[in-house]
Assembly symmetry: C2
Homo-oligomer: 418 residues x 2
Amino acid sequence: MDLAAMVREQAQAAKAASRRLAVLSRPVKDAALRAMAQALEDEAATVLAANAEDLREAEAKGTKRSFLDRLMLNEERLASMADGLRQTAALPDPIGEGLSETVRPNGLNIRRVRVPIGVIGIIYEARPNVTADAIGLCLKSGNAVLLRGGSEAIRSNRAVSNLLSAAAYRAGVPEGAFQFIDSTDRQAVEAMMQLTGLLDVIIPRGGSGLIQRVLQESAVPVIETGAGVCHTYVDDDADFVMAARIAVNAKTSRPAVCNAMETLLVHQDAAPFFLPRLAAEMAEKGVELRGCDAARAIVPSMRRATEEDWAAEYDDLILAVRVVDSLDAAIEHINRYNTGHSETIVTNRLESARRFQREVDAAAVYVNASTRFTDGFEFGFGAEIGISTQKLHARGPMGLNELTSSKYLIMGQGQIRK
Amino acid sequence: MDLAAMVREQAQAAKAASRRLAVLSRPVKDAALRAMAQALEDEAATVLAANAEDLREAEAKGTKRSFLDRLMLNEERLASMADGLRQTAALPDPIGEGLSETVRPNGLNIRRVRVPIGVIGIIYEARPNVTADAIGLCLKSGNAVLLRGGSEAIRSNRAVSNLLSAAAYRAGVPEGAFQFIDSTDRQAVEAMMQLTGLLDVIIPRGGSGLIQRVLQESAVPVIETGAGVCHTYVDDDADFVMAARIAVNAKTSRPAVCNAMETLLVHQDAAPFFLPRLAAEMAEKGVELRGCDAARAIVPSMRRATEEDWAAEYDDLILAVRVVDSLDAAIEHINRYNTGHSETIVTNRLESARRFQREVDAAAVYVNASTRFTDGFEFGFGAEIGISTQKLHARGPMGLNELTSSKYLIMGQGQIRK
């Protein structure tokens, strides 16, 4: 059988399973999640052996260090995957929740209730923990899942997926609920993107190349995730000590993640006081600064920033710095260059805070806090499948609720329409 | 300038306007909607003259009667368009509504509030009233709109759009908020579908050919609307008088709309009693029946149904009839052939009603009522931009809330992430 036909067959099996998953009771789902966590711990050796082979091959190919780190599993990372599954079991079941209820003048009772989406496709890159996270979150939200992981992690992903499937099916999850595409051929991705009527959504997780390609080519609806050109704006009426602390945290606490700051904007009246102090603190952390002319007039050691710097997602210890002449200019800069992820203002002025939150177009708009807080755990969702940077369906961190849809249930007593 | 560049420029103008629209106050929006309604009435003659030309050209081309009827405007239809705009003005403003609020252990206050989507693209076919409806609903929900209507209605759409834009801009709506693509060239649609980063969503309204093409080809996210292969299932424990009344209403009250019934399923124990009565009533209404063998054994005058009939959206006085041996078989048939729109069961048995509502996969699942009720007005939304048959973002009738997204507003006091 060719690859596209195989992928279609897997999606059909997932769709068939999704009907039963949608009405699976909470105790069965939670028991399965706990059994899956246990299986990961009990059979850690199998997964680690598969992962060692993936690592060996990647090293032989000369893969770079940071990528190997993402690919690598150890006892501790497996324990954290198992822990994630147990935490998901402990979360409330979103399915069946009543979202609204009205009685119409003709007596029809119209309820809107939460239901699963159906079949979710996930296309991801290096990290094998996504396999366990995605399976766990989809199960809890009553969805079947079709997984396509990165080719470098195929042995690890296969081992995790086999292990979790076996444990889940033993615990009463309908067979076919979790489908892992066991192929490194890129055509599997093409095939997935054409499965309208079988897949309800595709969530790509990985670099912007992957995400843009899926957005462009998929006939199945896509939820865009991840890219983060995040800004910190220091208002003229800011607490500069707080502003420096927030900026350093936003840039350096984990520079490679999507909620890290990429560009700092500073009001021109604040710049002469704030920038020298900030430059010193950033230098201490090893951050390279690239500034506009006004910023370089204050801190001459900065490299000159180009147009590309304003749009760059460095994911590294580099920071673009721009002096702006007003709050309006800051908002305009952000709305022009941002990716709709996370933005923050540091200010003591109520009106600046209000206008920044109203007018900046992003999933998460902060006042006096680091952009690094944008994720499902920090927002209290208990889990996360990704961070949506689009406006349809879900915006910001996506937890269990964002993996659901709704359905209208209408109860009548013989009503007909005139 | 070529067409694609013109369309892109219009989308850019819409996006620029959308920033100001997003923070436009309710009084300005409502006053503009009322002024637009007034303008439609005051300048009815201009619109009717343009429509008369469209009609003349369509007639000369030999366009069929039902299409001409959709295209035609008169004083009464204009009054109803104006009325729709005034009703939209009277609806609550969805923008700014608080959707959730939590305080995290670290003191961060996280609110989720309703915001506009941004720029909405609408691709529609014959009916010029969509121009006014779409502009009104997008304005009230704070969205800019890029409209592409059917070529047969271009003069009518242009007249309505010019009139409404002028009235709205005079009333304080930011210029550029409503963009009408003044071209009958199909390449305008191609161009729209590539406007990622400018258009946030495309909503196609029209026949399934249009919708499927947009779904398949658009790089911009699409909300699927419209197709309705709706079923009525008559359980063995049904009130047959009620069942016949509901079935006749669902099939004949307006056969060409998407919430009309296309297939009737009857439990085998009910069929001998129910089908002869139903066949007589349907015959009186001029409905052609196409049945399975078991149905034809009871009502031999039915034509034999083929596999195509089960999937057909007749939009006409034709009904497919199938006898099923159980509730399970009915649910299985529906989940196989339906389009996720509206389904109903007629039954007195609580367990049948419960299982039907849980297990049937559709936007609206009824008990003892006609499927014809699925629309925004009947659901109490006061307006409707279409009926979503997909599961992402919106499912079922889409009112003002479905034209919105959300945004997280986070208030801190200097919090940084460890």
